[in-house]
Amino acid sequence: MSKPKIGFYWCASCGGCDEAVVDLAENILSVVEAVDIAVWPVAMDFKRSDVENMQDGEMVVTFINGAIRNTEDREIVEILREKSKYIVAFGSCAHLGGVPGMGNLYTRESILECSYSETPSVVNPEKVCPQGETTVPEGVLTLPVLEERVWTLDQTIEVDYYLPGCPPPVALIVDGVTAFLTNQLPPKGSVLGPKHSLCLDCPRKDTKPENMLIKEFKRPHETEIDLETCLLAQGLLCLGPATRSGCGAACINGNMPCTGCLGPTDSVRDYGAKALSGIASLFDAETEADIARIADRIVDPAGTFYRYSLPGSLFQGKVFQKEGARS
């Protein structure tokens, strides 16, 4: 009997997620033995037609990383959806929009203008900008076109499971793949990870005071960070309380505050709003002026609280598009 086929695909991503698959190291061997990797552009030759020619549902599962940023992303994931029994949104970008999702604070036009003419290192006097179609003597050339905004995978196609993280921690990938191979799948729509937030698993949790109030936030480079004390208690903006556990407190162990890549717990719909309101609840403030002073120390609040999740949040971005918005 032939081995079950699986796929990995990337959209708008940094490549880190594919790197994470490679990082499975010896763990990947057991996977490779058990399955036939049919699609994996980062490691193998990939032709669109190969996939188009597959039977519907021919692949058991495809892990798609990256956000949906251009028409090619959209077209391919739509095909993959047809050819795969299960689709897993792999990593923060596919899950909630990820870092590329911060693009939703700008319009497509302003992003293009910035990249192709305003950036100091760009010399482009004719203001050449990528076009969907360009006519040359030999015929018409086509390029994928940037979408109006960044979409999460589930705003584009139906998604069965999510592997959170930037990139997803090895342990969660192994557990996730094993769940498929052993057919022990949780209910559709689940995020494959723990259900509580990071503090519970944090090695520093016992140093967190019961009544914790913050007088001043500090950025990591501005202070000598104690190696044992809860980072939030030291005034560092640690988003562990709002972030799904599963990473083994990787950043905390590196003495850096959690930035929230695993996204929210199951009970929260809008990661940034929840994290913001949780952190704001800790302000040690008597007056409006105190609040303003403490808040002023949070540099780039949108980038801090929505770093990985803007397109998947309730407001999805600064430029609101009604059509296509998730209902």
């Binding site: 259900k195 009970s267 609840s281």
Partner: protein
Amino acid sequence: MTAIQGDGSIRIGVFICHCGINIAAKVNISEVVEFAKTLPHVAYATDYQFLCSDPGQELIKTHIRENNLNRIVVASCSPLMHEVTFRRAAGEAGLNPFYVQMANIREQVSWVTKDMKSSTTKAKALVAAAVRRVARHDALEVRQVPVKADVLVVGGGIAGIQAALTIANSDKKVYLVEREPTIGGHMAQFDKTFPTLDCAACILTPKMSSVAVHPNITLLTFSEVVSVEGYTGNFRVRIKRKPRYVIEDKCVGCNACVDACIYKQPRFPDEFNVGLSKRKPVYMPFPQATPSVVLIDPESCIQLKKGTCKMPCVDACDRNAIDFNQKEEFLDVDVGAIILATGYQPFNPSRIPEYGYGKYPNVYTGLEVERLVNAAGPTQGQIVLKDGTKPKSVGIIHCVGSRDQKTNPYCSRVCCMYSLKLAHLIKERTEAEVFNFYIDMRAAGKGYEEFYDRVMSEQVQVIRGRVAEVTDWAVTPEEEGKLVLRVEDTLVGVARRIPVDMVVLSVGLEPQPDVEQVQRLFNISCSKGGWLLERHPKLAPVSTFTDGIFIAGACQGPKDIPDCVAQAGAAAGEAMALIDKGHVDLEPNAAHVRENCSGCRTCISACPFHAISLDKETGLSVVNEALCKGCGTCVASCPSGVAQQQMFTDEQIYEEIEGIMNYV
């Protein structure tokens, strides 16, 4: 108890009220009914003229039974009006009362929306929201907590005194907190009171001494409330007692210390006489002050300021009552109800510079003249000018700081009457010619018109017109040395100049200067201008929007003594009704921590009532339901979304939002 269908499915009934034409004139009711029938889980929908009426409630009950409804939505008025009604009706039909959700299509829709089309759209959106929400409701039990049996009254003017005595006479304990050194309020400063011309002291001071000796009243003068926690039936109030440097229990008010004071003559402005006389650093505010205890003013006492006085007062007191080391003290009391009777402040007429108050010595306020005419006042009841002579002519200007767009648009209700009272008293004491300048003569109370007739018969002259200016600029020899009132006599239609020796400004009533602080402290609202807001102007005039807190007297709006006393009685009645019931029903809106708490402790710091703690064994947070006040702060703060509040779960709120967004 719940009439759930055998299969456990949700069956929602939607009832749309016309409220006569209140709603029906603006909302297409049948369209909303038809729309409601299309919503998920809706098993039945209908409309009715007045759902809150008995037949209306009967209709709801019948349909709950006949159609096996297990949730209902009532689209009508504000839940503030009738949530209790409809929950009760549902309960009587065997449903858990918390399976009821209201959609407010009156206050939020028909009363505030112009055209029928948008009203109908809005009504549909709210009905959809309520339907989606109620499907997520849980069966809950009302929490009953016992009420504390004591009452706090704040402010010891006539209103506060009356309320305190009424309650104390019913054998309940009252704490009466007054920030001045004595109770009595403004009424204690008057000589006579309109319309009967009773002597103010004769009717007030017996009440003041009853307060002082009443076994059920704890009188806390020179004290202020600094914090209020809790809720109806269970308030914890912290009271600050300012030091009077005299031990209240020891002082008998003999005034020996006052006589002995190093200052042989009074040197400092006397507050009770509104600065018209002087007092010593140690003083009794006025002879009948209650409690009858002196106090020492730290601003003027040499010992308190510099520590260098020989302190003859201390030696003079054979009861050792003087204590220069007294400090502020705090007292916590638990009470079931609170009555606010904080009164008013008189309008400060320097805000109308044309009237020359503060510029011309012989321009007085009404309150100052009340002191002058008072036998116990600075002039022993003599009405004299600043030079000691008796005025031969007096002009009384009504509506100073009232009915005036530049100051206060409202009528202060008492000024016409007290102006006539002062006219009478001035005439009686001086035989001066008296002119009253009025805009309209407002004499609407019982016996007031008769009082007006009486004063008119005493040859008081009344001139209809708002005085433009008071000036000392004489244009004729007979105006020389006089104050001239320039006015348009609107009945005759001529501009007049009337020279007088003395001008009385009948200042209006304004909210206390610290009303915003009082509002915040007690968590109540104010109406425009700063008067404490009653729950309903007609039907709940002494209640506020905060259960268990009542208002009485001039703090609610300008009014005379009879009205203050009546309101005080009403407020006392409301407070006693609450306390006699013995318990209050609390909405079952406590918070709880669901599964998957991470023990991040955010909620613990956030809870203003210290109701959450970390379970030592599990390392997770737990809410103590008895302490939780249902404020929802922890819910908003919990970064994991697992702290949730009954009646306001995330699911319910999201359903409500989606109901609004998705159907219309």
